[in-house]
Subunit: 243 residues, 2 copies
Amino acid sequence: MKENKYDNNSFFEQYGKMMRSQIGLEGAGEWHVLQKMLPDFTGKTVLDLGCGFGWHCRYAIEHGAKSVVGIDLSERMLEKAREINSIEGITYIRKALEDVDYPTEQFDIVLSSLTFHYIESFDEMAHNIYQWLKPEGQFVFSVEHPVFTAEGTQDWTYGTHGEKQHWPVDNYFIEGKRSTTFLGESVIKYHRTITSYLNALLKSGFKIKEVVEAEPSEEMLKQFPEMKDELRRPMMLLISVEK
Amino acid sequence: MKENKYDNNSFFEQYGKMMRSQIGLEGAGEWHVLQKMLPDFTGKTVLDLGCGFGWHCRYAIEHGAKSVVGIDLSERMLEKAREINSIEGITYIRKALEDVDYPTEQFDIVLSSLTFHYIESFDEMAHNIYQWLKPEGQFVFSVEHPVFTAEGTQDWTYGTHGEKQHWPVDNYFIEGKRSTTFLGESVIKYHRTITSYLNALLKSGFKIKEVVEAEPSEEMLKQFPEMKDELRRPMMLLISVEK
């Protein structure tokens, strides 16, 4: 996440046009799943790693959180967050996730949405988050699914008539950097296996509560028929664990 | 698993030629991973679901288990098991896994190797195993990885020169029957997602201890260079849970 494409003009502009940026949580395909996995926020202290425009920070406060710290590396994302999701109780901080440092037992809840596939070491992250959480603290996050990140191009295999044939998986056990294209820009992401995600959490001491490969809701499939392709391969992995 | 290809002559013969049949556990690519996930067998009562030739039953007894029940639907598999892995403490029983029934808290350990992708309902299986286990009982099993079973053909996508291009994933969220070819015979398997495997276990009350997508050991990669293709997509999923 030390790479920061979100402060690049064209990238930021494109990102701003995505449904999830325009209308917030309801515009994110996986939100209907993530929402059900979130803990009760009442009176809780929350940390959001990779907060972007601050939609999850706002949601936490609006659902009773006492305070929320939203961290992001992008100046422009935080500018926008302060503009559209600035409410009492939220503090936005600009920092690379690798540089975040807290004393032990500072937060009740740690959230992170689609951010960890930008960081190189998830082991270290999981270990740190475990320390920052109070006993029985909750950690809920989403990442791009390893099936989605493995091969690297992040695109379907197409037939001669341009039809989507299937999703290619390759180099699954070769973890590390993938150079891919997102919103017209070349972006570095880090692929790791499901084994690595889960065992980093287990080794840190977390108890696994739920693991969900998000799929579109029936409602979304009705409203956007092209979303049926989302049933063909998993794109997002959502995990909920407890200290 | 009510379908029983293993009693078909040509299928049984082909199966008998596989490394895992000929030399036992050491001939199975995932054994080096599974072995590390197995609990201490000393003095324990063990149930092996889909025991095949009985190699895991033998291993359990040789590592201190008090008694082992090996269940399989194939008459010929059990015949072979009785021939080559018949030692005191092992009882082999012919039964479909769906028909297995025990009172609660009968076993300390339940094992199953590459069997559950033949059964239609893993939810029911997980629920039953939870009941059959004593408190703090261990359940360790392997299945074909959902990435391996999703598309259905269980084969690579090949280029014009016959080279392996990548592994195709399709219909990932469409769970259920897959008609595939194994050892020259058409076989019915059941695809389900990682979400389904893990959440069936969690909902049954199990605590997840380890989830490993098996990859070849460095030794195997040296000995059989063609195994480097096994690093390109996950083929087996190994899970260890505790009551």
